[in-house]
Subunit: 245 residues, 2 copies
């Protein structure tokens, strides 16, 4: 039976199958080994995400072998600014993440759970984006700041430590590179091709650490060069046993 | 419950989640509506594909709502040339396709079945590719010709008519465009970004004709702008009913 991984998150997950997206790249990395199921919900915060858990994976007989949980960019929207309806206080954000992690761990204690922090924010990029949409009518102050998003990222990493699950500190990781503001972020928040590449690379690294190394997993059926055209039954039978991990 | 579509085929399907791939593009088109499950097997012909049918979708409780069946590029490899082990006579190719279609229709008579012909072959592109790999030691004659692949494409379309299922004549479609040889094919057989775009466009068109129009399908959960932060239970409850198609 083919196992699957789930990508659960906000727009950065929903958009991960756009050209050069990290979701597509992951599906390509795990081709013929693990299915990648995307459950990304643009604009959602961790509070709203809780309402999806019970019905998120109806139709799959088995729980996923791994999940990425990637919320926080909307929770960290500031009160009193244009996206305040998405704001969730940081203490609640942490507790919501805890509930999400526990939900998946209850489905399967062996599941590889990876929490990803929101990416950093380039406030000037957000402002440019707002001006490109609304011109002179654009709001003056960015609806998110890098500093506040960093507070959310920190709690996200804290929670992963408390619960003993994997995490990716995207907020810190991206800021290690000079010019991260434009290199990794297209509008100060969403990812460029290079930003997507970082997420893909980090998820592959953490999945591998957690025992889901694509290079070590058997493909679902024999490579075409291994098929003996004169003995097809045997070619396919042998492999079925080998792939029985 | 989220429905899913399956992409079943050879390397052109297996590679469809590479950057700019038609599989990723399809997953993006149907985001939050239909899952895209890739079952692509590089080098496989229709004869070998038959061995996969019984175990292809173990783990999914429901049959897919649609499937693309995309074989023939390897069946059409010529006898007496370097890829002859993949060759399948055209009469058998047609019968194998018939078995594959019937297998899916037996899973669910309502399933939208789309057979895709192999793309055209640019023989000079195949030769250039062989020389890039083997230099002077490359074989003289292309292992596939456009003419022979066209015979397979014709039988593929014939079969779709006989069975009353949808088809995409990629072999003809691509050749309508001036310069198709380099524009759509990277090595005389596999697809460039523009070649992938054609497949994506055609699959979306045929899926829409068959009742699976992404613009008409409900998203799985409310758009974030429709969520009433003061009445979350109601926001999610109402939508569950609405999405109950």
């Amino acid at each position: 039976m083919r196992s699957h991984v789930v990508l659960f998150g906000d727009s950065i997950t929903e958009q991960s199958f756009k050209p050069n997206g990290w979701g597509s790249a992951l599906a390509n990395t795990y081709t013929r080994k693990v299915d990648v199921v995307v459950r990304g919900y643009g604009g959602y915060n961790s509070r709203w995400a809780l309402f999806l858990l019970q019905t998120l994976l109806v139709g799959y007989t088995n729980p996923p072998v791994a999940v990425t949980i990637f919320f926080g960019a909307n929770d960290a929207a500031l009160l009193g600014r244009t996206s305040e309806r998405q704001h969730v206080p940081v203490e609640e954000y942490k507790e919501n993440l805890r509930k999400i992690v526990c939900h998946f761990k209850e489905l399967s204690p062996a599941m590889l759970v990876v929490i990803i922090t929101p990416p950093p924010i380039n406030e000037e990029g957000r402002n440019e984006y707002a001006r490109s949409l609304y011109g002179d009518k654009a709001r003056e102050l960015s609806e998110r700041t890098n500093e506040v998003t960093g507070v959310y990222a920190k709690q996200c990493i804290e929670l992963a430590k408390e619960l003993g699950v994997y995490s990716i500190n995207l907020w810190s990781k991206m800021q290690e590179t000079e010019g991260w503001q434009k290199k990794f972020l297209s509008d100060g928040l969403h990812l460029t091709a290079e930003g997507n590449a970082i997420v893909h690379e980090e998820v592959v690294r953490v999945f591998s650490e957690g025992g889901l190394d694509a290079t070590q997993l058997a493909s679902d059926y024999p490579h075409h060069s291994e098929i003996d055209p004169k003995n097809l039954e045997k070619s396919f039978q042998e492999r079925s046993c080998k792939a029985d991990l």
